[in-house]
Symmetry: C2
Subunit: 654 residues, 2 copies
């Protein structure tokens, strides 16, 4: 609230409509280290007096504020900027006050009759003398002398000129009377994340599938790093790596019974070998894992772990902490169910347990454990089935101690819940991209993600496939569909990921017609992949990721703009840096079967192109070079060759 | 904030995006007694459990809440309603909780295997037994029996049927387990005003001009009431009625010197006869005023006073409270100035005085005085030059004691300031209507006023003229311009007013070319009006006000809708009651010179008309009757006759 009940009635200024802000300051905004943060607000007072307005900012915990003068934008709106320091939390707010010196100076310039000017000079002498008393030191002496001069005997026009001297203005601005200032409260928070929070390329793989047909290990994963690096990914993300339960273990294709030797689902966490802090013995040792994390980091790749707060019936928690689970009337532990479906191999936690505090602490300690092992990125499985308050507390505590940790929220669920999870602390969020396939769907959804106020807290991460979702478009669209979806994910969203090697090998058979489950899913068996298959998309993916890295326009989401086309199968959009020094224009043929052509109608301001001008458009995918003219240009894309252009636009150099 | 820091971690529900709300509850919304208030919110919990959501409401000061069940709208949005009781303040908020009974019932309907149903029935028996314990009495006994039955030995399908009995559902709904409920905080406030706050027609006149050429009195005003009633106005509003200063009194046309006998400006308040609580002796006595207020009320007319917090140099405050004024270096009191303009006959208060508390109390006592004399409506002059915090306090205190008082804010100033004044308590607000004359301007401005969220606190009052503003359109447009502007004000805004008799007598000469000041303004001299002039608009105005009273569609602003026309001089809009039982369609020719014609393209849903149907359109201004067809209809309006249609549409009766 901008003023408290017991405030001094002479505090005449008001601050309203501060931006950016999330739920009036209930939640922080998100930025990355080094970002320039622009803050705006309405600030005004009754009457015609002049205001000054300063932006206050500091790292959380600092005792003093840094101050930046805000500039009036007209219509009582003000704007200022500051730079997000290193990762952590910083705070900002706004102070404003009626500035009688400025009001006086403004009026003095408008008086013309000598008697009016004389009175104004006498008033000004008082104002400047008061500033002199606040200033002290050299500035105090200079201001004192100025006040005397204004009250002196020199001719009115001489004194007026002295009063309007720019130097006086500059000195006195440092000693305002802020005794009646208003400070917007409460101060607002910024979660400052590492740059990878905004720009990252994820590669998901089952570590046990790194050496098919045999069970792969962390050593095999280490050998796979070269491949992941070649493809250009900087996050290598593993499904759960913990011991897998044997009780009611699932068999291939989610069969309710397993055969000896079936590896089971990694999400059935916990066995006699341990729970969420243990490593499945067949993957290797703790030391193997640590070495993998180190080696990956030396290649610029972070290892991300999937954290799934649920237990197999064999998890040590089940016997050690029965109070953390719900029990059925017959005394057995309640397994997961979603009538008429039953998941007897999974025990969910009962978050309404009276022992919720101990449960929360234990679950937090799982993150702490893996942070201790060097992990800095976590993908959280089904966060929407755990209490919001727990996430807010847990992520807050963890980021207090380790502000560089990144949490990706897996929540393909109701939009309000996805947004709540993002607000309360998740660094990145899964999106509906997987199910947005038409031009209209993609345009509407990514316009919302990149332009609405939710961008202050919701950082999208776009996935064309996951172990749970093989969309019909990929099932039926063949190679062009995979190329188009990869291009869309990688250029619409600065954070994106694929689940491989199924993706680059274009795995596309569903378990059954109408299903989004993979046939012979890796969730239940170990597959044997031939990464060197001639038709693999590895080179295409590597090229797209190289383009991403080389072009800063693709490192952020806010400057995404869609451009009209006259063909519903052709989507066109651009991204650019704020200074337009890097401009990328993407055109994708969404039809995986037929060649499509049409005219695109560019919004030239988004590209920095002048109307009617010619400019080079360099296709970074095929290395073709075109000359485009003004806003209207012709495109033609053959899905059997490359279904997309990623054009680098150089507006200044025709 | 929806949850506090020390909350129980098992409280899993969340409430967000409550509407209506102003600045997250910092300010109340406004309604009138008897209004149905619709409240919506997002409410959800983690996971798939079912929620219940209730709307809580009470009069401020009551200890217990009234509860209304909210209905789910889908997508985690909920809605409920309550009726604003009598004038005063009421409060509302929302409570929600995870309802395990509802979740259980939902699941039970989806199980099909007998063993699953059996387990569910056993769980249900526990849930119902717990409800029985909460219920006690007859309901407790019945629920207890039900629980036993579910846990009994009857066949599963028989017990399942009993479990899903609608009667059980109805009884148990009264005894939910709300131990982990969330209540949205803080509760939100509604200022409930009298109906005249939303629907009123104001007539402003100088009481001293009620008997020209001599100085009129309150007795003369009493005689004028019949005329005001005939015209159909229900608020008769006077400029300040206090003793007028003699020092530096202004002469006719704002001359800096006055001649003996010049009456001076009523806004130069205060003389030896008294200040803001006194009546200018030439207007009459306190008893005369009281009688006028009573007589007016008996005719359905409220007397409104203009309250202007400023003083003439002769005001008793100036000598009694020099500390309430600013002083110049020579010791003289600072008069009002806006360089290079000077207003030496007006002393503004210095609201930065250390004695601000005493000043606020004294100014409040002015309202209290006139409330004591029977006045319930105040128009406040230049509220934007007095502290916002003072208005919030003063209006709050006054409405606490007298919730039926109406404050109209005169603030033709920066939009942020107009809105702030409305938020902090002014019942109605002047608008930019006076300067919105084209179809595009009117459409944009009234769409904003009637459809944007500001309507929750900003009630417009539209004036085609005031003593300070004679717009160029009226100066040059003749009779058609006055008729068009009257029609627009009276039908676009449920609250409107005119300054008469200048308006109905079509006074249109400016003091000088380019000025919006009246020539020979009543602000400085007493005019002599002939109300019986043959060309007076009194009959036209009376007819428009009769139409307003007879048609509930015109009693509110929120259901204003503009309809497309193919002629920029023809504006078309409708208003309707929410149930479409009263529908008014207005068409105005904005060109005061030429006959204009064109096609209007109606949005039929706004009118309740089915596409392609014929329906009667009765012009209430001319009593003409038309048959209109579907959405597209032809109109032609001759400004030399009547420049507008006010059509009563009867969609159901072709």
């Amino acid at each position: 609230m901008a003023r408290s009940a017991g405030a001094d009635g002479r505090q005449r200024a008001v601050i309203e409509s501060v931006a950016p802000i999330v739920d009036r300051g209930r939640f922080p905004i998100k930025r990355c280290a080094g970002d320039i943060i622009t803050v705006e607000a309405d600030a005004f007072a009754d009457g015609h007096d002049q205001l000054r307005c300063v932006l206050l900012h500091r790292r959380r915990g600092d005792r003093t504020w840094n101050e930046v003068e805000m500039a009036p934008l007209g219509n009582d709106r003000w704007r200022g900027h500051f730079t997000a320091p290193e990762v952590g939390v910083c705070e900002y707010t706004i102070a404003t006050w009626v500035d009688h010196y400025l009001s006086w100076r403004h009026d003095l310039q408008r008086w013309s009759a000598p008697e009016d000017i004389a009175v104004a000079l006498a008033v000004g002498a008082q104002i400047i003398a008061a500033a002199a008393a606040r200033a002290k030191g050299v500035d105090g002496k200079r201001l004192g002398a100025w006040a005397k001069e204004l009250a002196g005997a020199a001719p009115v026009d001489v004194r007026r000129e002295r009063a309007l001297d720019a130097e006086l203005d500059e000195i006195i601005a440092r000693y305002p009377d802020r005794s009646l200032e208003i400070i917007y409260q409460p101060a607002l928070a910024v979660t400052v994340d590492p740059p990878r929070a905004r720009f990252s390329a994820w590669y998901e793989m089952f570590p046990r599938a790194s050496a098919g047909p045999r069970h792969g290990t962390f050593r095999d994963c280490e050998a796979r790093l070269a491949y992941v690096a070649e493809l250009g990914f900087d996050v290598l993300y593993f499904p759960p790596i913990h011991p897998i339960g044997v009780t009611r273990r699932k068999g291939p294709n989610n069969a309710t019974t397993s055969r000896p030797g079936d590896p089971g689902s990694p999400w059935a966490i916990g066995a006699k070998e341990g729970g969420h802090k243990a490593i499945a013995p067949e993957l290797g040792t703790t030391e193997d894992f640590r070495r993998l994390v180190r080696t990956a980091r030396s290649r610029g790749i972070e290892i991300a772990l999937d954290i799934a707060f649920q237990c197999s019936p064999d998890h040590p928690y089940v016997s050690e902490h029965p109070e953390w689970f719900r029990h059925r009337p017959d005394g057995s532990v309640q397994y997961a169910e979603n009538p008429p479906k039953k998941y007897q191999d999974i025990y969910p936690f009962n978050f309404e347990t009276p022992a919720w505090r101990e449960l929360w602490e234990e679950l937090k300690s799982i993150f702490d454990h893996w942070i201790g092992e060097g992990v800095r990125i976590f993908r959280v499985d089904n966060p929407h089935t755990k209490p919001f308050a727990m996430w807010e507390w847990m992520i807050g505590e963890i980021k207090n101690a380790h502000p560089d940790v990144i949490f990706l929220s897996e929540a393909f669920t109701r939009p309000r819940i996805m947004h709540r999870l993002a607000k309360l602390g998740f660094t990145q969020s899964y999106t509906y991209f997987t199910w947005r396939n038409t031009k209209a769907e993609l345009t509407e959804y990514f316009t919302e993600l990149s332009r609405s106020w939710s961008r202050e807290y919701f950082r999208p991460n776009a996935w064309p496939n996951t172990p749970d979702i093989l969309h019909a478009y990929l099932q039926g669209g063949g190679r062009p569909a995979f190329m188009a979806r990869l291009t869309l994910a990688a250029t619409l969203a600065a954070n994106y990921g694929i689940y491989g090697p199924t993706f680059e090998l274009m795995e596309h058979e569903p378990r059954e017609a109408g299903s989004e489950e993979y046939l012979n899913s890796e969730k239940y068996e170990i597959r044997n992949w031939n990464l060197d298959r001639a038709d693999s998309l590895r080179d295409f993916i590597a090229r797209v990721n190289r383009i991403r890295r080389a072009n800063p326009a693709l490192h952020a989401d806010w400057r995404l703009a869609f451009h009209r086309t006259d063909n519903d199968q052709i989507i066109c959009y651009s991204k650019s840096t704020p200074d337009l020094s890097n401009v990328i224009l993407v055109v994708v043929n969404l039809d995986p079967v037929y060649r499509q052509s049409g005219w695109v109608d560019l919004t030239l301001e988004e590209l920095g192109v002048a109307a009617g001008h010619a400019y080079p458009a360099h296709d970074l995918l095929t290395d073709s070079r075109f000359t485009w003219h003004g806003s209207r240009n012709y495109v033609e894309l053959d899905p059997q060759r490359v279904p997309a252009h990623i054009l680098h636009i150089t507006p200044g150099h025709p």
